[in-house]
Symmetry: C2
DNA sequence: TTATTACTGCAACGCTATTGCAATATTGAA
DNA sequence: TTCAATATTGCAATAGCGTTGCAGTAATAA
């Protein structure tokens, strides 16, 4: 059966970090913003929990790190984050783009259950420099 | 100035592995197929070298691992691997798709230098099971 | 054949993420 | 409010992927 979930102080702290942040965050970002308040392992577990609940979605960046961002159209068990993600090589941040592209035509016989776009480049701020 | 490159036995071994394989391979795959013949660090360095030469391209998978596959339209220093990559959740293999989709429209002010698609699902073989 | 230096293997290290376990805190029910 | 059940936390240890330093080896050009 489903495991019950509890509303704890640490979860609220992590959620607050997400709410005060526009872009996506990686584990280290969150630990840093909560300096000393939560153990790093707990952060990993909370992120996993939020992901399972459909509250945040996961983004695998080219640098090997995993980023997380609040979901808008996801529900528990089903992540509909088919939008594109952008990595700015200037400020080294990951953000979610509203625009969705068009999936490549899959060859005969293939079935897709999830897809993701990842674009690297410069955001308006960093491009200007 | 450019560093000279040498044609060694180990490089040939790694290249042979790629040539006998249809899909993309991760570091561990290659080490396993060359069981005991090459040190794991050497494999990392050869992969890096091939990448720099434009012989193979890099794919960051959702599982956090990096995959490599032979290039077709790349040249040293410039990787044109704008095609989509497919991860089969059945046989757990990564492959390159010929088809190219359409990139999402970037918001005003953004500039893209690289992009990648990643699609998860089932390949024809695994779908049938 | 010989000198140059790219390459290899080994050991050690760094970083991201996971697991086990005892102590703690949340929750629903008495 | 009190209490028991159990989800959650923190700490220590561990696993996995990738990198760096260095001494010995081997490919290449002269």
């Amino acid at each position: 059966m489903e495991k019950q979930r509890r509303n704890t102080k640490t979860k609220k702290l992590v959620m607050d970090v997400f709410r005060h942040e526009a872009g996506a965050l990686c584990h280290a970002d969150i630990v840093q913003r909560l300096e000393g308040k939560i153990d790093r392992v707990t952060v990993y577990r909370i992120l996993q929990g939020f992901f399972d609940e459909g509250i945040i979605h996961r983004i695998s960046a080219e640098n090997g790190k995993t980023y997380y961002a609040l979901c808008h159209e996801c529900s528990a068990g089903h992540h509909a984050d088919n939008h594109a993600h952008f990595y700015c090589m200037g400020c080294k941040t990951v953000s979610c783009l509203e625009a969705t592209g068009q999936l490549p035509q899959l060859p005969q016989g293939y079935s897709a259950s999830e897809s993701s776009w990842f674009i690297s480049g410069y955001c308006p701020n960093c491009r200007a420099v």
